[in-house]
Symmetry: C2
Subunit: 498 residues, 2 copies
């Protein structure tokens, strides 16, 4: 559209100039010059567009340099295959084996090791299976005479292609063998269509499958040996990152709500990006599922065994998402125009802030548990902290309730309440009370996350945190003194509050 507009405006401008050109006869305003100016404008627009595009690409590269490394790896693998086949004499040109090796590398090389292995397996299995089937069909067809040959081949292609296409609609097949089904159809049709005789076909199939295996092995080796990106590790990191984002948004939202006086300095204020971190959690389902699927295929890497329970991460993801939905509700409640009066906010702010910071401490501790692959010694304590903060909040709501019924209050207090009762109405308290009850809801959802993480810790046999550290923590709890340990700030923060 922008392009078209540019052209149109260029035309208009040319017409205007055309009117003017009758006055002056200097060659600069002649048709050649006009076309030149028009082209210049067009080029400038194009250059600007390309520049913007390159800028964006640069940002993506700077943000995640591993993407750039992946591209260089892909380029390298392809160059190796290409040069090997280029420098060796190729008798059949593009139609020969070179093609299959190059094609395999282009199609199979993926960002993560798991994805590459998955595609490789799909390609090898799909090709082999289809090759054998097509071989059988070809043999039967060639026996049945020239008249029936095309009939048998046509019918078999139709049946198998339809069936394989349909299998791609079945979720369990789609998740794992989508590419394999495609390759199956492709290979089967190619072999069935080929005019080769059966004996020649056999030699060809052997060559082709070995070429594909060489291509896939090259891809797997390159992805695994040069700066490998493991789907499992990515899923692991994504889960940790999402937890941190969740904790950040939760704490930030509540802090922002109770900071209407602008007490926080501008530099301390949470940027929108941090507050809206939970949105990433809302949208990460598809990524998590595909990662978990790929991770199953990866060999032991880093701190993960081959049979690491990756499926459990999906459960953790689901519980985080359920928590993020509530934070979304919390956020909309903070954005609403209907605000509680300042003095009620002040009254509630301490308890609410305590619940939100304790809750986010629990989430951060869970993130640490996953990050370090060690059972946390302080998580039970932190959960208890959170529960007691929730209890305090509930009591505070109760006391608000008594504020609303002046009969009881008049007996106990006298001066202040008279003014208060005349102003406090349920509608005024409501925004804060809703915020509070959402916080309570969120804390119960956090307990679900705790459960799923504990399951993960049990199934994956996480080790206990170092015993001495645990003892030290216990000692700190008993003495209730601020700790000087810097490496465990999160736990300590919670302890200080206790």
């Amino acid at each position: 559209m922008a392009h078209q507009e540019k052209e149109t405006s260029g035309l208009e401008w040319r017409i205007t100039l055309g009117d003017g050109s009758s006055k002056s006869l200097v060659p600069e305003t002649g048709p050649v010059s006009r076309i030149w100016m028009w082209l210049k404008g067009l080029m400038a627009g194009l250059v600007l567009k390309v520049w913007k595009f390159l800028n964006k690409a640069w940002d993506i590269g700077v943000e995640d340099p591993r993407k750039v490394i992946h591209c260089l790896k892909a380029g390298m693998a392809l160059t190796v295959v290409s040069l090997v086949y280029f420098t060796r004499p190729l008798y059949e040109g593009v139609g020969g084996n070179a093609m299959w090796a190059v094609m395999t590398v282009v199609v199979v090389f993926e960002n993560t090791v798991g994805a590459t292995i998955s595609k490789s397996l799909n390609r090898v299995i799909g090709t082999t299976l289809a090759g054998f089937l097509a071989f059988g069909v070809h043999w039967v067809a060639s026996l049945s005479g020239q008249k029936f040959e095309p009939l048998i081949i046509g019918a078999s292609v139709f049946l198998l292609a339809s069936a394989a296409t349909f299998s791609r609609f079945i979720p369990s097949v789609k998740a794992r063998f989508d590419y394999g089904a495609l390759i199956f159809i492709l290979t089967f049709s190619l072999v069935a269509v080929s005019g080769y005789r059966v004996d020649k076909l056999f030699a060809l199939a052997h060559q082709r499958i070995s070429t594909i295996i060489i291509g896939t092995c090259l891809c797997i080796l390159v992805t695994m040996l040069i700066c490998p990106i493991w789907a499992g590790q990515e899923l692991h990191a994504l889960t940790c990152r999402n937890m941190d984002k969740l904790a950040g948004s939760l704490e930030g939202c509540v802090e922002e709500y109770f900071d209407n006086n602008g007490e926080l300095e501008d530099s301390d204020k949470h940027p929108d990006k941090k507050l809206l971190g939970y949105k990433c959690v809302l949208n990460s389902k598809t990524t998590e599922e595909s990662m978990a699927n790929f991770a199953r295929l990866e060999p032991a890497h880093g701190r993960f065994n081959f049979k690491h329970p990756w499926q459990q991460y999906l459960k953790i993801g689901a519980s985080m998402r359920s928590c993020a939905y509530s934070i979304e509700a919390l956020n909309s409640c903070i954005d609403s125009e209907n605000q509680a009066p300042e003095f009620i906010k002040k009254r509630m702010s301490n308890v609410c802030l305590k619940v939100s910071s304790n809750s986010s401490c629990v989430i951060k501790e869970l993130a640490k548990t996953i990050k370090t692959l060690k059972k946390s010694s302080s998580i039970d304590f932190l959960v208890e902290e959170m529960s007691s903060a929730v209890q305090d909040l509930q009591n505070e709501i109760k006391s608000l309730s008594s504020l609303l019924s002046p009969a009881e209050l008049l007996l106990s207090e006298s001066k202040e309440t008279e003014k208060t009762t005349s102003t406090i109405h349920l509608l005024e308290v409501l925004p804060v009370v809703i915020l509070a009850s959402l916080l309570i809801d969120i804390s119960s959802r956090i307990q679900d996350i705790v459960k799923t993480v504990e399951e993960l810790a049990n199934v994956a046999e996480f080790k206990e945190e170092a015993d001495d550290k645990a003892k030290q923590n216990q000692a700190n709890i008993n003495r209730i003194v601020p700790s000087q340990q810097n490496d465990d700030q999160q736990t300590m923060k919670a302890l200080e509050r206790a």
Copy 2:
């Protein structure tokens, strides 16, 4: 896993039998028989698994017969291509042109017309562009002598493959040209690697591109002419369906909450599936985005023009999702153990039910607007209805507030309140009040949906609903009598309530 368990139990059973076999020497318990039984068990397990799989596949087919039709279409297109090339003499076998036609059909044939067109364009453009570039590189390389030839080709493959791979990380490229970039890399490497001389290459490229164009044209024709599935229509239907689900969940949730006495008959009760309809809305973002992308490429079909504003559907989807988040919060509030006392629930039930049914009427009317592509004449009225119901609800909350402060009440009422004031506390009212405030929040989010749908109606130039119908509706509003029109039940329901 299930498979493995089966095997183990088979083994155990064999050992037990083995112990018993020392007593009786009948041949039925001999090792052959044991292996036979074990194999039988294994086979039974396998057959059961296959049976389950086929059952699942059958269900998928029955649920959406168009999937089956798509598979038959794919099979047909492939059979046509295969047979054409099978019956014509093929001089080069699989390596020749047949391969490219078959491959094109397998890879390009997609479920929707838009997706097929998108892949076809990607394939043709990617191949052509890469072909010309590779041709140039080849020419330069062949001029520079045998020594530099592999160097130039290797460097160009490395650079272009890396760049093209990187471009696939850029969201705007990923969304539209992902497949094209892949094909670009593939074609470029293949042509660069090929040992052909430049003049032969030209003839080959011409043949190949024309084969690919024939293949893509066949695919596009088959998808468009035989029971076409349009991405645009799918997106349109998905949006309508999601709206209906949203309306159903909203109404169902609130009805269930206020129906603790089991007044609804079992047959009237909303099945869980309906209540959880909003979950579909939460997860439909990716589908909507790809559909909108494909729909842009589709020609005018059915009631949609070529330039139908498909992007606006994404905005509608986003506003629906925001509404679904609140319904999620509503649902968790209904599931919570913390329930309000029965008499408060009864007091609030009418207003809440009115808000929820009016809200869902608005959503249903919006769904109808989209479904019929006609501006609704009653939507303003329905939105007003909803707003007034929300106002009533707010008043009801206010009156609850006065119930809580007995001082005022003791003056006006006497008998009942004494008992009431002693029991009502803020904490007890809270669950219902939170539900009510969520309903208010949802109704404001519904107004966002109304706005996005109105934008769609303006941009896509929806027609007004037939004038006579509008007049009739207006008359009904004035007379407030139940209408006998059956084709417009939804509007009428709302009118009856007015």
